[in-house]
């Protein structure tokens, strides 16, 4: 029998399915709709979109953030319960994407929020999003 730490035990209890809160600006949502639809159907992996950040394990941030919306994103993040994971989707969150020279958008999101994972792509493929979520499960399994 493997000896597990208290943290690993709690994590195993908590992370059975991934509940998601979406924080999408601009095209972020439109490009991820296939994930919810019947073709890729994220619910078969237990991924559900919840209505409030207080219920969510994972925060999806997509699209470019503006100076104004980042303050709201921070408040959303603060409301989430531990353990929490932030996944940033698309090139906009990484480098500013096509808005790299805009005066009021955020270029590097990790300067403002603790990002767990970046998923590149414009937009990222649904499979890439699944892989990111799979990594969360793997991480919990590997915890000792």
């Amino acid at each position: 029998m493997v000896k597990r730490s208290e943290k690993a035990k709690t994590m195993r209890k908590l992370i059975k399915a991934i509940w998601i809160f979406n924080w999408f600006n601009s095209c972020g949502f439109a490009e991820l709709v296939p994930l919810v639809g019947s073709r890729w159907d994220m619910e078969r992996f237990g991924m559900i979109i919840v209505g409030t950040p207080r219920h969510a394990d994972v925060l999806f941030i997509a699209g470019y953030q503006t100076q104004k919306s980042i303050e709201r994103a921070k408040r959303v993040y603060e409301q989430m319960a531990e353990p929490r994971v932030v996944i940033a989707l698309g090139s906009c969150t990484m480098t500013g994407g096509m808005y790299w020279d805009s005066y009021n958008t955020i270029k590097k999101l990790d300067k403002y929020l603790p990002i767990t994972m970046y998923i590149p792509g414009c937009p990222p493929r649904p499979e890439a999003v699944f892989e990111a979520c799979e990594k969360i499960f793997e991480h919990v399994k590997e915890l000792k």
């Binding site: 104004k68 790299w100 005066y103 270029k107």
Partner: protein, 167 residues
């Protein structure tokens, strides 16, 4: 061209000594001195131009002027009047029209104050609308180099990966 437009244009031109013209059907353009702006606006409101569709600013950098454009619509006559006026772009101060159109003028003036730095005398609430914690100059001015601003604010020239932004 209907009679209504011709008649209205005649009235405006004689009353305010302007050289307005009929652009096309249902449209009249009038250019007026900034000092007479509130006067013409009040008069037009009484004539039935109760809807202020938009206020916009054009930045004429070489002429050192801002051109303010007021679009007014009359529901009864179905005419859109465009009132234009020019102000100094280095000292952009103009009389507010909130006393005439109230809330609908207020939001436009607040936006233009933020993006162009136009001061509307008589508007009580000119707080920032879209930009938060903004310290830079008014961003829609043509002499504001946003690319330079972004390089200064967000990027580091010494960073090997960010060098491309300076090419």
């Amino acid at each position: 061209m209907t009679k209504k437009e011709n008649q209205l244009l005649k009235e405006i031109n004689t009353k305010f000594k302007t050289k307005g013209r009929i652009q096309r059907e249902h449209r009249i353009w009038v250019t007026i001195n900034e000092k007479k702006l509130t006067e013409i606006c009040k008069w037009l409101k009484e004539k039935g131009f109760e809807h202020l569709s938009a206020i916009s600013v054009t930045d004429w950098l070489e002429q050192k002027e801002y051109e303010l454009t007021y679009h007014l619509w009359s529901y009864d006559d179905k005419i859109l009047i465009t009132v234009k006026t020019r102000i100094n772009r280095n000292k952009p101060i103009i009389e507010s029209v909130t006393s005439i159109w109230g809330e609908s003028a207020q939001i436009h003036e607040r936006e233009l104050h933020e993006l162009f730095g136009v001061k509307f005398k008589g508007n009580k609430d000119l707080l920032p609308l879209f930009l938060e914690n903004w310290q830079g100059p008014a961003p829609f001015r043509k002499d504001f180099d946003w690319r330079d601003y972004v390089r200064e604010e967000f990027y580091d020239k010494k960073n090997e990966r960010e060098k491309v932004y300076y090419d």
